[in-house]
Homo-oligomer: 205 residues x 2
Amino acid sequence: MTTATLGKRAATRELILDHAYDMARRDGLEGLSIGALAQDVGMSKSGLFAHFGSREELQLAVLETGQLRFLQRVKWPALKLPRGLSRVRAIVTNWVAWANEYQSGCVLLTAASEYDGRQGALRDVVIKQQAGWRQEMCRAIGHAVENGELRDDTDASQLAFEIYALMLGLHHDAALFGFDEARRHTLAGFERLVTSYSPQRRAAP
Amino acid sequence: MTTATLGKRAATRELILDHAYDMARRDGLEGLSIGALAQDVGMSKSGLFAHFGSREELQLAVLETGQLRFLQRVKWPALKLPRGLSRVRAIVTNWVAWANEYQSGCVLLTAASEYDGRQGALRDVVIKQQAGWRQEMCRAIGHAVENGELRDDTDASQLAFEIYALMLGLHHDAALFGFDEARRHTLAGFERLVTSYSPQRRAAP
DNA sequence: TAAAAGAACGAACGGTCGTGCTATTTTACC
DNA sequence: GGTAAAATAGCACGACCGTTCGTTCTTTTA
């Protein structure tokens, strides 16, 4: 079925990317090796290579795969909720669930730390992806502000940064110290954020 | 002088580690290559290799170097301040300065993300380092609580997590989007943390 | 059914990897 | 200043790297 709808070439490409995605989660995009990947998929190096033309093209494809999976797991379900704080909450919830599923390594975060000091097409894509997602977060936060669910002097990019930072902490701590406590800390931090940016407790300084 | 006090062997080792540290900042510990490092230092592969005996030993040495530099840049100066909130503030300030100096890549953070999904001696050391530093943060926070500068129901490990998360955000954003805005967000987040955990605004819920 | 197109294969290329072994040079000491 | 010891260089090894090439097998098209 998949083969029928996609064509053989596209189906094989997806199969390769499935394996490559898992491999990149553990070893990073820089740790992707064509030989090891081919062995994992069960085909020859050259046959696999022909699907991408270069290692960099493969890495870029994996990066796209990673973003697609992140968006359809975290963003799209959240978009089904009404604009406002509930959607922001859904983003965080889905994101935590994402971090749980993909415990040892999110490709996007790994890539961000791999290419933050270099230059080239990969870094460019990483930055574009991260900037785009941050903007999405700002938009969702903006809706909550418009709804009056967050203080109307809320700096969306500031709050987005703080939420993103919590998620970085989640991935970091989950990988090193265990997921459960990391999630506890993350959610507690988020609740403190919501309280802190909440309009009703706008007590005089 | 350095040669006289250290001995030639130790001096050469330090020289190598200097270069290795810089290289690891950009390419990670996994990106460290003996050949490239030897060329960078200006000696032969085998001559350099003899100082460590294996690549892993070199990586471990770089990791130790990284921790030493971090501690003497961030922790030790903060210890000169009296226990309490001012010391916590100093840690954050020094840490931000550290992130500025070593903008493209902190070896410790890079290593944390490189080895969080594997196993072996390097991962063990990374975890031990991170756990130790987190404990230091908890201690500093505990002093501030004892001083009454933070609410006495403060969960030190929670606050330590939140501060650490801000620093992860700082490194992330500084590398991708520029240091200045990242610092602004980080310091604003920290101030919000201090306010939030501050005892005087213990208004009834 | 013959021809064209597509997909995967196996072998090989030039390089670099980490790692040993053996000289040769440099250092330190009597 | 000679001599033992330490430090470095030179060389080679086997493994793997990304990549290219020509071939083979399968599928589609005419």
